[in-house]
Every structure is written in structure tokens, then in C-alpha cells.
């Protein structure tokens, strides 16, 4: 009996890099030395159990003729690609990354003063853009990799971390794609075989 590969149940792990960073091949782990920063200090172990949602949103106009009641033609007038998750990670590096890629300044502890990290809360007019990779399991190969690679995204959610007992504070995150002149919203790759 063959394995039902096409049924996949696992979260994606997200990585961000400056726009125009080369996407990793499926047999490479996205690495900080190549510019890729993992979303979540421990990757998907910092994502709420809702998981990661990839949404292909669109608006369609239909033509319904005077002589009939059913649509005879359709046009797409808008489309959006978004990737959503809840990030259970309030480390300064991750919080600042989500808050318009704010710069974190570290102040080392010294005699008579504590060490601390700081980043600005005002995001300003310019919206930070990133390249994005979302990695999960391939529906074609047991243990294979699946990868969304999106050339330009920005963080579109309005995080509202709640400090309360018994429930971890999290940052709502939504990466919305912008169309790249050359490759649109990018591609999805599904590994089908191991290297020979």
C-alpha cells in the first residue's frame, strides 16, 4: 500500500531576507550568513497552534447577460497573497523585525548599570520590504521540502501583544506580497526526489 503523500499536515517555517536575496535551493537550509533570518527564535516552535495560513485572495467580476440568469464570463480584478501566523516570541530581535524591521541597539552591562536592548516603536512612513521563504513538507516525497518563495512582502498586521496570566503574549503577523516586475508573487516549489 502506497503512502498518501498528498495529504500534508504540518506548519510552515518562515524566513525573511533583504529583497533580491537569492532564494535557497530545496536542499539548502536558509542561513543567516546568506541573509535569511528565521521568523521565531526557534522557528515554528514559536508559532501559535493555529499554524501558518497562506491565503490566495481574489476579486472576480462576472458578466450576467440580460437574456439569462447565470454568469457567462468572469474577470479577475484583484488578487492578493498573504501569509499569516501568531508569533509567540517577544525577543527584541523578533519584535523589532515584525515592527517594520526596526534597528535593535544593544547596551552592554557595565559597572553600576544593567545591560539592555532597545528599538524604536514609531514605524514611520516607509514600509520595510523583505523577500520571504515559507518551508514545509512536500506532498510529493516523504520527508521532502515544500517552499513558497515570494520576492517582495511587507508586514501588514497590527500586532497587539496582550500581557495576561496563563496565556503567552504573541504578535499577530501577516506578510502581504507585492508583485515583482519579473516574477510576480514568486513560486511554490515541491521536492519530488532526492539528489542522485
Amino acid at each position: 500500500m502506497s503512502t498518501v503523500l498528498e495529504v500534508v499536515a504540518a506548519p510552515y517555517t518562515l524566513y525573511l531576507a533583504p529583497v533580491d536575496t537569492e532564494f535557497p535551493t530545496l536542499d539548502e537550509v536558509p542561513h543567516s550568513s546568506d541573509g535569511w533570518i528565521m521568523v521565531g527564535t526557534s522557528g515554528d516552535l514559536n508559532y501559535n497552534d493555529k499554524g501558518v495560513t497562506v491565503t490566495h485572495d481574489q476579486k472576480i467580476s462576472e458578466f450576467i447577460p440580460a437574456g439569462g440568469t447565470a454568469a457567462r464570463k468572469a474577470w479577475r480584478t484583484e488578487e492578493h497573497l498573504t501569509i499569516d501566523l501568531e508569533l509567540v516570541d517577544l525577543s527584541p530581535a523578533q519584535y523589532a523585525l515584525i515592527l517594520n524591521d526596526a534597528a535593535v541597539t544593544q547596551h552592554a552591562a557595565g559597572v553600576g548599570h544593567v545591560g539592555y536592548d532597545e528599538f524604536p516603536l514609531l514605524q514611520g512612513l516607509t514600509v520595510a520590504n523583505f523577500a520571504l521563504v515559507a518551508r514545509g513538507l512536500s506532498p510529493l516525497l516523504d520527508g521532502g521540502i515544500s517552499q513558497y518563495q515570494v520576492p517582495i512582502v511587507y508586514q501588514a498586521a497590527s500586532p497587539a501583544p496582550v500581557g495576561t496570566k496563563g496565556t503567552p503574549a504573541f504578535l499577530a503577523v501577516q506578510f502581504a506580497a507585492l508583485a515583482d516586475d519579473a516574477s510576480g508573487f514568486g513560486d511554490r516549489l515541491d521536492q519530488s526526489a532526492e539528489a542522485s
Binding site: P92, A103, T105, Q106, H107, A108, A109, G110, G115
Partner: protein, 84 residues
């Protein structure tokens, strides 16, 4: 004194009156380096130690055009492939 490189995770580091951007290099005295190494949120590399490790590698002869191979065979693999 030791030469230290700041590796992050912040974009800059303020320490002992000095400011380093990520990837930046500066000198700190031994007690300051020990203090920085004891702060786990700050990632630094002490480059002095790396220099000491490399002191035993003989300097290349400027007249030697053939680069040394990483495996110590004295052969450049790229050049080998071209020859084949």
C-alpha cells in the same frame, strides 16, 4: 587588549564607551571582553584568538602563483579540473 567583532543580534552595540555596528571590529581590554562574553544576549567573536590559531600557517610566497589547496595537497582543485 583584544580585538572583538560584534555579531549581533542587534544592529549595533554600545559597550564601554564604544559603538560597533553589526560586523564591526574594535579593541577592548581583557576585563571588558570577559564581561561581554558573560552576557549571553550579546554575540561577539574575539578575533585575537583566531589570529593566534593562524600564526603557524606559513606566509605565501608572493612569487608562487599556484594557490594552496584546502586539503593540504598543494594543488588547486579548480586548476586540476581544468587540466582534466
Amino acid at each position: 587588549m583584544k580585538v572583538v567583532r560584534y555579531d549581533g543580534p542587534g544592529r549595533s552595540l554600545h559597550a564601554f564607551g564604544k559603538t560597533l555596528d553589526r560586523g564591526g571590529i574594535d579593541e577592548f581590554d581583557d576585563a571588558e571582553v570577559a564581561s561581554l562574553l558573560a552576557q549571553p544576549a550579546i554575540h561577539i567573536t574575539v578575533l585575537d584568538d583566531l589570529v593566534e590559531d593562524e600564526e603557524f600557517i606559513p606566509a605565501a610566497d608572493p612569487g608562487d602563483a599556484e594557490p594552496e589547496a584546502e586539503d593540504g595537497t598543494g594543488r588547486d582543485h579548480h586548476k586540476q579540473e581544468e587540466e582534466q
